[in-house]
């Protein structure tokens, strides 16, 4: 995978403009006119989409992890909270970790009130994200349909549906026939091993282009003065006598930091251990696979918790299929093939027309699971260290919301009200936010 910042190498550097009396580095604004102008040069002269700076000796805020969440946090720190002395440190390259490995599903139909507020906060930001970032993230609210296969599923889903309605999150119940009408090709034969007995539908849910999300945030943050530093792995933390962090040690040298936000998904335990903090997390591979490109055939997102499969179709035409997690802790980024085979069994039964479709690629991303399948977002035992993790199998949908709430938490030094129920302290207080049934695969 190549980031556009590398594909579109040009002689021109990123442009500069004056904002509020200061010279600001900014990316070229995308508009019909700029597209037209660049069409005359066969689109060869687009500048790099974000700067590639050497890290400065120190920053006000250092974000560890250049995934969607970390980049979004940096963007909102700069755009909404006026904190522009920010660096995002990424050990690999932008879009090379889980942000390039997920199945791009966006929804907010969770069960508990704190979760509904959390995920709907993100969904509302998704709805005008392309305009906000001036970058087409291809958010497509084509509807997320979750299939019920057993009586227990029906009861559980209807409970979710009513809870969602009470929280102002529109959600509908579909009969098998209505589910098939919404998604032609779905097999509703009552003789299936796990027949479709009904489905819930969140019409506002859908998919977005995962690479574009990180590229768009990196570009917008960079334009506001945030340094996006790739190939920079954090190897340790420098601590003062009172325990506060004074700097992060990296493969590109020491970087001073007044405040640090860790947003490292599957590797959060590894990073936090360097600060002497053990986390209530277990990291497992979550697999996905894509087929060869096809004509449009799957018109919405179809998810099935019971038989562990979910499927949507990308705009390029490939079927994007999500499988389950392996049962043990692993950082292998692959996972066992029998997990994938099990998912394909289910897909072939739900969509018999897809039996002869060839699968092109299969991969794994490392997801950090909490016991209640809810994230951890807030303060840590170290005063100037903040953490955003534990999103498990569902982090992509939260990208704008998680970034915004992490930014607010770092800027104010205390948790944003929406993030407050998701603190690290809930494990000792017992106030877990149990989303095992809503979290789809990780239950």
């Amino acid at each position: 995978m190549t980031a556009p910042g590398r594909m579109l190498v040009s002689r021109r550097v990123v442009g500069c403009r004056r904002v509020g009396g200061r010279r600001e580095v900014s990316a070229v604004h995308f508009s019909f006119l700029s597209l037209l102008r660049n069409a005359f040069s066969a689109h060869r002269d687009w500048p790099r989409q974000w700067r590639s700076p050497e890290p400065k000796p120190a920053y006000d805020v250092v974000i560890v992890g250049g995934g969607g969440h970390g980049l979004a946090a940096a963007y909102y720190l700069a755009a909404e909270f006026g904190i522009r002395d920010v660096a995002v440190l990424e050990k690999g390259w932008i879009g090379g970790g889980n942000s390039g490995r997920n199945t791009t599903i966006v929804r907010s139909n969770y069960l508990m009130e704190p979760s509904e507020a959390l995920y709907d906060h993100a969904l509302k930001l998704w709805e005008d994200l392309s305009q906000t970032l001036n970058y087409n993230v291809m958010f497509s609210p084509r509807g997320v349909m979750m299939l019920a296969h057993t009586d227990h599923d029906i009861h559980s889903f209807k409970r979710h549906l009513h809870a969602n309605r009470l929280a102002g999150i529109p959600s509908e119940w579909l009969t098998p026939e209505a589910a098939r009408a919404f998604c032609p090709g779905l097999n509703i034969d009552p003789d299936l091993r796990y027949p479709v007995l009904g489905a819930t539908l969140q019409r506002r849910g859908g998919v977005a282009r995962h690479d574009a999300v990180v590229w768009g945030y990196a570009r917008a943050a960079s334009a506001l003065g945030v340094d996006v530093v790739e190939n920079c792995e954090v190897t340790g933390f420098e601590r003062a006598a009172d325990g506060r962090i004074t700097a992060v040690e990296t493969t590109r040298g020491r970087i001073g930091a007044a405040r640090v936000g860790v947003s490292a998904a599957g590797n959060t335990s590894v990073v936090m251990a360097k600060a002497g903090i053990r986390m209530p997390l277990e990291s497992t591979p979550l697999q996905a696979l894509v087929s060869e490109p096809l004509k449009p055939i799957v018109s919405c997102v179809v998810m099935s918790n019971t038989i562990h499969a979910y499927i949507s179709q990308s705009d390029k035409g490939d079927l994007v299929i999500g499988a389950g997690t392996d049962q043990y802790v692993s950082y292998s980024q692959t996972g066992g093939l029998h997990i994938t085979a099990h998912t394909l069994d289910a897909i072939c039964e739900l969509f018999p027309a897809l039996r002869r479709v060839r699968m092109m690629r299969n991969w794994g991303g490392i997801v950090d699971n909490t016991v209640d399948r809810s994230p951890i977002l807030g303060r840590t035992p170290i005063d100037n260290l903040f953490v955003n993790c534990g999103w498990g199998t569902g982090g992509f949908k939260a990208t704008p919301g998680a970034g915004h709430l992490l930014a607010a938490t770092i800027a104010r030094g205390e948790p944003h009200p929406i993030a407050a129920p998701f603190g690290l302290d809930r494990f000792a207080s017992g106030r877990l936010v149990d989303e095992a049934a809503a979290a789809a695969v990780a239950h």
Partner: protein, 98 residues
């Protein structure tokens, strides 16, 4: 699929087993404070490298045992019976690196 050596039955395919999380987690005392109970219940090393963990040969002999596995390669380094002491992970890592 992994090949796992059950200490009682020998090498068997992964689908006969269930993983049961980190090994050697001590149960907290009855009068332990909530923080200590939360640590024992939820907080894990989640190591990137050699990890001692519990497995159960569910679809075989049904017995629990412990294993040391490398969490990046998923390679099982050794398996041992419950009650046996935890192997020296640092020494095992050195041996692997050689």
């Amino acid at each position: 699929m992994l090949l796992i050596a059950c200490p009682y039955c020998g090498p068997r395919p992964e689908i006969e087993f269930v993983a049961r999380g980190e090994a050697h987690v001590a149960r907290p005392a009855a009068d332990a404070d909530p923080q200590a109970i939360a640590e024992a219940l939820y907080v894990r090393d989640n190591t990137r490298g050699l990890l001692a963990e519990r497995w159960r040969h569910l679809h075989g002999c049904g017995r629990f045992f412990n294993a040391v596995r490398h969490t990046v390669t998923d390679k099982f380094v050794t398996t041992y019976r419950v009650g046996d002491p935890r192997p020296d992970l640092a020494a095992l890592a050195e041996e692997l690196a050689r």
